[in-house]
């Protein structure tokens, strides 16, 4: 399914103090793909997301989003081009009702440009978006203070924040973490729907079983390097990957 080349990353390097966080990572991302990013803890996965979304500047290498270079741009500019990310540590705008949280992305230049005059009342647009992702309007969930929502809703709110931007590519940073299997099961259709609507997903995950339900392709990052890239089954059979996850002995 080679669609448009959405993301072309080449030779990405990042050093923090004395630590080599990302070394020489390169990959491509095409429209409509769901690519998983997996690897042991501390391998640099979240750093990768930070680099792609502009929160951290790479020392070397290039990141091209739909043909244009975006490495070095500030986060809001990258998000405005359609490359958005979720945050692993959930901190919504806690003092506002849930739907007001979406007012922020709905006011971004990107949304202003694409929706122009057709937006109407932003508040109702926000509530519609929330309803679509499962905030029951009847139970007044969208009106609850964001800080009081349980985790499952917070994760959805985070996704809603991204969806409100009408993104092309969404970088999901461990959206499954902290959720029970049934909660994840109810989130998967949402992600599938996003994919069907043409959004490209890149998901950093630890929950491999659930991830493999969605991902066509998986990249393994270990110690800042990409050590595998391919369909899930092939990647998990790769001895280098096994070694990275299990240790040198290959024990379970």
């Amino acid at each position: 399914m080679a669609g448009e080349l959405m993301l072309a990353v080449e030779g990405l390097w990042k050093v923090f103090g004395g630590i080599l966080a990302i070394s020489g990572v390169s990959f491509n991302l095409h429209r409509g793909e769901v690519v998983g990013i997996i690897g042991p803890n501390g391998a640099g996965k979240t750093t990768l997301v930070n680099l792609l979304s502009g929160f951290v500047k790479p020392d070397k290498g290039s990141i091209r989003f739909r043909g244009e270079r975006v490495d070095g741009l500030p986060p809001h500019k990258i998000a405005s081009r359609g490359l958005v990310r979720t945050f692993q540590i959930m901190r919504p705008f806690h003092s506002m009702p849930a739907y007001k949280n979406l007012i922020v992305p709905l006011n971004s230049p990107r949304v202003r440009k694409t929706r122009a005059g057709a937006l109407g009342d932003l508040d109702s647009v926000a509530i519609d978006i929330l309803e679509e992702i499962g905030f029951e309007r009847d139970a007044r969930v969208p009106y609850k203070t964001a800080g009081s929502l349980p985790l499952g809703y917070l994760k959805r709110l985070e996704l809603a924040r991204c969806l409100a931007m009408q993104p092309e590519v969404v970088l999901c940073d461990e959206v499954f973490s902290g959720m029970s299997m049934s909660e994840i099961a109810s989130m998967i259709p949402l992600l599938e729907k996003m994919q069907m609507n043409g959004i490209t997903l890149m998901m950093v995950e630890h929950r491999l079983r659930e991830l493999f339900k969605l991902a066509d392709r998986v990249m393994v990052i270990n110690f800042g390097e990409k050590i595998a890239d391919g369909p899930p089954a092939l990647v998990m059979a790769d001895p280098a990957v096994k070694k990275a996850y299990m240790g040198a002995e290959g024990q379970q």
């Binding site: 929160f55 901190r91 705008f93 506002m96 992305p105 006011n107 924040r161």
Partner: protein
């Protein structure tokens, strides 16, 4: 009966609860209850100039100026997260530009005041722009330094009247315009800010305070919003400065005095940070107070600072929040 066996309980007054729903519209009592504070504020502002004598009318104007500065400060500090320690810079900029336009180029005041408000705002904002990309501390530091810097610049270059200032500027036409111009401006700013912070602009500012990373990740340029907010506050400050120079008909280095920087801050802390109306009340309390203590000279700045410290340490909610609580709730002791 020891303290642990009793506690203070706050209960909403029944009229508060009744006034919550739409049915309040059908009751005169409840409508009055809701509208009274606001009406009282607006009415007293409009009526006072009619009853005060000439001397106190001038004080009233000064209080209104301080109230506007306090509003600007409160907005920047609580809604944007930027503590402006140098409000006097805007007064000075507005005053000098308007006075300068009036004195050197003969501009009439109805032209020079708006022009000075805008020009002062532009200059002030430009001076602060370099630090708006950074954390709030830098803004506090730079805003503190700028008025002192401008003063030494004026002295060093001996322009614009240097240490003596310039007098014989045009005055405002008559006493009523003096009063109602500033009252109108104050009400405009007060209700304007109220509106602004409930609209999307305010929601975004609140978001920036809650979680700026998420705001950036949502495509919003935080620096741009800060610049807009600072420009707004700068406009208000410069307008006050321009108005001041024509109220008294002269401009001078005292426009950069520490008074203009500290009294609004004290008024804000006393009145209740973040409430917008609180700083206004604080200003209208402090200004007459300071007028009454005119004989004490520099002591007044010490007084404002001490009051400020007292409130910020021991009663940080401020006067307005306290009054609001009393208005909407009552308290009684209850056995635990």
């Amino acid at each position: 009966m020891t303290a642990s066996e009793q506690r203070k309980k706050r209960i909403e007054r029944s009229i508060t609860v009744r006034s919550r729903s739409i049915y309040a519209l059908s009751s005169w009592r409840e409508m009055t209850f809701l509208l009274l504070p606001r009406a009282a504020l607006v009415a007293s502002l409009c009526i006072l100039p009619l009853v005060l004598g000439m001397y106190w009318q001038r004080v009233f104007c000064a209080a209104a100026i301080y109230a506007m500065l306090a509003l600007a400060f409160d907005f920047l500090a609580q809604f944007v997260g930027l503590v402006c320690l140098g409000l006097s810079m805007f007064i000075g900029l507005g005053g000098y530009i308007s006075g300068g336009l009036n004195h050197y180029w003969g501009w009439p005041i109805w032209l020079s005041i708006p022009a000075a408000s805008l020009a002062g705002a532009v200059l002030g904002t430009l001076a602060l722009v370099p630090c708006l990309r950074l954390r709030g501390v830098y803004f506090a530091i730079i805003s503190f330094m700028l008025p002192l810097f401008l003063v030494s610049l004026i002295i060093a270059t001996s322009i614009l009247g240097s240490t003596e200032g310039i007098s014989s500027l045009d005055n405002l036409p008559n006493i009523w315009i003096e009063q109602y111009l500033i009252i109108g401006a104050l009400l405009l700013v007060l209700f304007g800010f109220r509106r602004l912070v409930t609209e999307d602009f305010g929601v975004i500012l609140q978001g920036i305070k809650d979680n700026d990373q998420a705001v950036k990740a949502s495509g919003i340029d935080i620096t741009a919003y800060r610049i807009k907010a600072v420009f707004l506050a700068a406009c208000i400050g410069s307008f006050c400065g321009a108005y001041l120079s024509h109220l008294y008909g002269w401009l001078g280095l005292s426009m950069f005095a520490m008074d203009f920087s500290i009294l609004p801050i004290a008024a804000t802390v006393m009145g209740g940070m973040g409430t917008l109306a609180g700083p206004v009340i604080g200003a209208f309390i402090l200004t007459p107070l300071s007028e009454g203590l005119r004989g004490f000279g520099q002591l007044r700045v010490v007084l404002y600072s001490l009051l400020l410290l007292g409130f910020i340490l021991y009663k940080p909610e401020g006067i307005l929040n306290y009054l609001e609580r009393k208005y909407f709730q009552f308290e009684r002791w209850e056995k635990v």
